[in-house]
Amino acid sequence: MNAKDPELLLEHAPLLQQGMSTPQAMRDVIYSLVPVTLAGIWFFGLSALLVLVVSILGAMLTEWVFSSAENKTESLWDASALVTGLLLGLTLPPGLPLWMAFLGGVVAIGFGKIIWGGLGNNLFNPALVGRAFLLATFPIAMTTWNPVSDVDGFFMVHATNLALPFMHVEPDAMTSATPLGLFKFEQEATPIINLFLGNTSGSLGETSGLLLLLGGLYLWWRRDLDWRIPASILLTVVVFSGILGLFDAERFPTPLFSLFSGGLLLGTIYMATDPVTSPITPKGAWIFGCGIGCLVVLIRVWGGLPEGVMYAILLMNAATPLINRYTQPTVFGRGKERS
């Protein structure tokens, strides 16, 4: 028998914790993005890899520079900067000059996160802040889309990638419009199967609907994702564009096309569900998702741009505090009887 009388610790209950931590959640996001990233590299060649690496570098370097001294390595390990850089890279066109991608990473972390007070305090999704900055600053470069490369082109690096800052470079290869651009400006629909598999032009990570959905399923299975947000966004988009299709099937895209084209799936699964910038309450998540869905369709159909996912999410991000405020859950025993 042990007669030892240990110096007892006093620690508040509960002493048990769910086996999930914030860095683990971040790592889950990265794991779920691996297929999408590989597909992007497969479709768009080495340039895609370069753009991704550079934007991640920009993000992580900024995080490292601006985190406090005792926290320097720690803040990198929670992997949130890596996620931001990777997500930003996936929203960029593969032929983007690398210095722009780097700048995007810096802005994403610097103005998207650090300036708000670091992880957990930002109002807008950092990756989208970076992208919005790039789109506003370099509209031409950000909308010059390279076509899917063939096998020979895999190791080819686009000349535009290597452009020096503020230098103008003619696109080397021919450019091609995205499916949404084609539909909007030339009334030409892309086959759904291409959209589903991803061999169309567009941003690095947005092309393959299949892989994005798989990543989303993984996150849902890991409970890292509030399923209400993707569900409500996709549902709203389908219903809204379905209704529009009833009026004029020629002018308005079909629901399925709306679903798989452009950055909708990428934005829905990875940006809109960013826990920091989406509402904390279940009811709020539904409102948030419906808002994004409506805005996406509105911008796509009547806006000046072919794509509107980014602005839709950023706009609803801004509304998140308000949504939180008005969707506080009804406390047990204080509302009408919930069924």
Binding site: E7, L8, L9, L10, E11, H12
Partner: protein, 283 residues
């Protein structure tokens, strides 16, 4: 011409609302004693509550109607109080300098620990977790709640784990009194130098087994002080400060545990040379 339309509309809207504002300023005006505003401007504006009012503006209102004296404000300097009194044509009144004192002298070196608190910092958090591990369940936990709460940055936890109140900075507001989960702070006049630094409601060995500077209720101070100054209430000496004038340091000489003190200036002065360990750990 069309480029003029937009500016013209903006100017028009501006004018429209400007007129509404100007008219409503006239029509909806509430008459208020202008002296309240002026007095409020002369007050320190810390809203600390030391005067017993919820903030500086309510205090200014009470001043103007003459219900309170300017000297009730313990934060403003003597000159400021004089100015306010002159402005309002009233008597400044006299107010003794009050400071916060801690009814506990058992720091890390004196009080026994029975267990170790192992949660996030804060006295109240520790007190809720089964008493925070300090053997004396009435004593100071020294986990920075008062230091964080103090508006005037007057409290520092010293290396012995006790809050040291800087009497020059202390304005006798109730911040620390509210923050302390053990209710150990009290506000007393600075002139009261005789002070009991213990709150243990136990006597004899039961008390001294918990803390080296606990009052064991021996009663020597009652005998040594001038008659009527100190009396024992349950197990603690209570000093009758109304006869404070006759208080002398003699009362503390025979105290075996150093629990009654003659304090000149700051409390825990003898520990002042120790390196100060405290700093705001959370905010």
């Amino acid at each position: 011409m069309s480029f003029l339309i937009a500016p013209a509309i903006m100017v028009g809207i501006g004018l429209f609302f400007g007129i509404i504002l100007a008219v409503s300023h006239r029509l909806l005006r509430v008459e208020e004693d202008p002296r309240i505003e002026a007095t409020n401007g002369m007050l320190p504006g810390t809203n600390c509550g030391a005067c017993g009012q919820p903030g500086c503006l309510p205090f200014a209102e009470k001043l103007v109607v003459g219900e309170l004296e300017p000297s009730k404000c313990t934060v403003a300097s003597a000159d400021d109080i004089e100015n306010i009194a002159d402005y309002l044509q009233i008597d400044a009144g006299r107010q003794e300098k009050l400071v916060a004192r801690l009814r506990c002298g058992g720091g890390k070196a004196q009080a026994h620990q029975i267990a170790e608190y192992h949660g996030f910092e804060g006295c109240r958090a520790a007190a809720v977790a089964s008493g925070g591990g300090k053997g004396c369940s009435w004593g100071c936990l020294g986990l920075y709640d008062c230091e964080v709460a103090c508006t005037f940055d007057a409290i520092r936890i010293n290396s012995n784990g006790l809050p040291q109140v800087d009497i020059d900075k202390c304005t006798a507001c109730p911040d620390c009194i509210n923050a302390c989960p053990r209710d150990l702070f009290e506000v007393v006049p600075l002139s009261q130098k005789l002070y009991v630094q213990c709150s243990i409601p136990l006597a004899g060995e039961a008390a001294t087994s918990l803390c080296a500077v606990a009052c064991d209720a021996c009663g020597k101070c009652v005998v040594d002080a001038s008659p009527g100054l100190i009396r024992m209430e349950n197990t603690l000496p209570v000093i009758d400060y109304s006869t404070n004038a006759v208080a002398t340091p003699e009362a503390v000489f025979r105290c075996a545990t150093d629990s009654i003190k003659w304090i000149e200036g700051n409390q825990f002065q003898e520990q002042e040379n120790l390196p100060i360990g405290g700093q705001k750990k959370y905010a």
